[in-house]
Each structure stands twice: as C-alpha cells, then as structure tokens.
C-alpha cells in the first residue's frame, strides 16, 4: 500500500491534460512531475473526450471528502476544460455555454465553498482556458476520415468558451491561465499559424505545451507563490543533509511539503 508521504498537484481535464506526459512533447504534466519531484505528487486526471457534464461525476470521485483524514491534501488543483464542451451540435460532446459556466462553477465550489463536503480552503485552484482551434487543419482531418465527418468545432465558438473560463475565474477569485490568448498571440493572431502550436488542429504539440508550462508557472509564481516548487521543501532531505553517522536522525521524520 502506498503511504501518503506527499501532498498532491492534481491536473483535472480532458485529453489535453491526459496527454501532458506524451513522449516527445516535453508536455506540462511531465515537466511539473520533474520540478515538483520529492515535493508534490502530480496526478494525471485527464480524461480524453470528456466535457464538464461528464467531468463532474468523475471530479466528485477524485476529490475526497474533508471528513476523510487519510487522503492526501491537494495543494494545487488545475481544472482545464472547454475543448470538448465547445463542440458544435449534433456532437454528443457539446455542452451549452451557460451549462459549461455552471459546471465550472460547480467544480470550483465543491472545493471552495465552506458548505461543501469537499471544502478545502488551502487548495490553490487554477482554471485554464482551451487553446484556439485551427479549423483548417481540423476540417481536413475530419474530412479524411472514413466516413468523412463535418467540422465539429468553430474558432469563435471555442474562443467564447475560453472567455467564459476567464470570467468564471474572475468571479470565483481563483487563478486563471489563459492558454487561448497565449497561443493566439504567439501566432500573431493568424489562424494559419496555429499549426506551430497544435498537432492536429485541436491538441497541443511541444511548442504549445511549452507555452502552457510557462504561463502556468508564471501564474503560480505570482498568484500562489507558496506552492511554487522553489518555495516547497523536499519531503525527505537532500542526501548531503543526511546525518551519515546516524541516518535515522534525519530520515525518520516525514516532512510533509508545506
């Protein structure tokens, strides 16, 4: 059985989260696992294809109740949806914008509301907006399938969902990482240049994840410096700090990241 020796950095979202450790991408999950090594356990809670409607029941199961003293504390919680919610009807992934907003608020409230059984006032919440869609590449990719599929996402539609994430973050007073704007501005606001940052018109490539990682760490440094990796001590001591004559003196105290 794995003991709870470290607190958690949870990444909750869709495929763009799930692929955060993809080989060759130096993606954000991998890089967080690297910089938070010996400090926080970075958990992949990305669910390919999921929207917020399907995410909520899973979220409820991934976040333990406050009354469970054995569960590791979530120090940082990133919530990243919108890429699938913004699908156009008749896609089964479509969630209307107003319900998307309500769903995000429900997730945040489950952790942030004192009345919630999952209330965790020390958890630092970060909302992330979906990247822009490259409809040229996405349309071609769907047309090439057998049978061909009509374009299922729109550039402005996803932009609207990204702006909604920003508004929810502001209203709920939690941190916001604006991946949509970071990627869009990096292209010089040119949809034809989105392929520099997206692998298939929808998902991020190495350059795209590089932007995500930079923006995320910048946000942590400014909004939540207490959970920046530079400000967390290692759970167990660096080897040079071990009492080599009497190792037990220095090694038998689990120093929770705090």
């Amino acid at each position: 059985m794995a003991a709870h020796v470290q607190d958690v950095f949870m990444l909750f979202g869709d495929s763009i989260t799930q692929e955060g450790w993809e080989p060759g991408h130096n993606a954000f999950g991998q890089r967080l696992t690297h910089v938070y090594a010996r400090k926080l356990d970075v958990l992949n809670r990305g669910f390919s294809g999921y929207n917020t409607d399907w995410g909520i029941p899973v979220f409820e199961q991934c976040i333990a109740k406050t009354s469970d003293p054995s569960a590791p504390k979530i120090r940082v919680l990133a919530i990243w949806f919108g890429a699938n919610d913004a699908c156009i009807l008749p896609s089964p992934q479509h969630v209307p914008l107003a319900r998307f907003v309500a769903n995000l608020k429900q997730m945040v409230g489950m952790v942030k509301s004192p009345a919630s059984p999952r209330y965790s006032p020390t958890t630092r919440i970060i909302l992330i907006s979906p990247p822009p869609v490259d409809t040229f590449v996405r349309r071609a990719e769907l047309q090439a399938r057998d049978p061909p599929i009509a374009l299922d996402r729109g550039f402005e539609v996803t932009q609207g969902y990204a702006e909604a994430v920003r508004d929810v973050a502001k209203e709920e007073d939690v941190a916001f990482v604006d991946v949509w704007t970071a990627v869009w501005e990096a292209t010089g606001k040119d949809e034809r240049s989105l392929s520099k940052f997206l692998s298939d018109g929808l998902h991020l490539n190495e350059q795209g994840y590089q932007l995500v990682y930079q923006e995320l760490i910048k946000t942590i440094a400014t909004k939540y410096p207490d959970v920046h990796y530079d400000n967390l001590g290692p759970t167990f001591p660096p080897w040079a700090e071990i009492d080599w004559e009497n190792p037990s003196n220095s090694l038998y105290t689990v120093r929770k990241a705090d």
Copy 2:
C-alpha cells in the same frame, strides 16, 4: 483531498529514478505515466544521491502498513539502487556489497514476507540493476570540479553490484530488469561507447532511458502480464462508452484497475 481512485505503480530508487521525467529525455517515468494514464498512478519515489542504507527508512515510510485500509494498493513496485551504493571509499555513499544485498532483501521482504506489517502479496516487485559507469567521462567530470575530486566509482565495482541485484531477484523470486547488461551489450561491450547512453558517465540520457523502458515493459509483459498496461482497464470509461443520455449510469462507479 485527493481520493484514492487508482492504484499505484511506484518507482523507488536514487537519482536515476528521480530523473525519470527529465525534460528532453523521454525517460521511463514519463513514459510509464503516459501508458498507464487512467489506469495506475505512477509515483516518483527517486531520491538523488541515496544508497540503500538511507533508502530503507524512507522505504518504510513510503509503504503503508497492510492494516491501513485507506492507502492505495501498490500494483507494481520497481526498486532500483546500486549506482550510489557502489561508490568507492571514502565516499559517504558507499555501502559494502554484503550490506547492499541485505538491504535489498530487506526491502523486498518488507512487501513479500507474510510476517511483515507491510505484507502485500499482490504487489509485483521488480528489481533493476544500475547502468555501467563510464569511468573516462566520470573521472574527467570530477577532475574538472573545484576542488577536483578523485574518481568515486569503478567499472567492475558497479558491475559487481549489478550482478548482486540479479542474484537477489533470483533468490527472492521477483522480476529483474538488467539495465547493466542491456546498456553494456548495446555499446558492443566498449566502455568508450557508454557515452551514447550516459549523460555524464553515471546518469542515463535519452538513449539510455529508451533501453530501460523497453526492458522494463518486456519484463512486465513476460513476468507480470496482469499489470501490463494493455491488460488493465481504465478506471473511468472511455468517452464513447459513456451513456450520453444518462451519464450517471456509467460514470458513478469507480472501476478500480484490477
């Protein structure tokens, strides 16, 4: 609080484990996190500079007692030491070969012995041998330090520790991943070619971790196929399998990887 929704794949070892998510390396920890996404949580329990003497007290704290019903089950446990234990005196990292063997047996016994408070008969244990040392590169690297340091590891010494890991695995009847031999054979048994697989004479580069990952997955496939990622179902269903009309029907049951 993070709920226990998935079982664990724990990587326990020294810096060569800790660096398993290093950017640019496509290292084994990252790749395991990727292929086990939505199945097992891969935990980085690598401790740079540690030998087995220091590893044991930490191991005891990372492995929960069997009597703790709330802790996630460890489905796979990789134990990877030797690179530091094999240091030459007067290095404080040196652990005599006989004690190294005893320490490894103690770790395995803590999980495998029915008398142990941490007994977990369903945990699949894998021992891994350290890679060969490139003494040419290592000596030059240590000589370039200020002040210069004498060579702290020997090629044949580390080879002896690697063989000891193999012998312990056989005696304890647990799986063995022979990184030492895999890397050595890949060089054509030429120490001057080790730099193809090592970054600094001691730690693995991308090519080295590629070999580790291949050998590890091959070992799981042959010795412990029940915990190969292809044979574990996702904890939560793929999105196409969700009951879109009544999502709760398919999403409210946590299906533990089994």
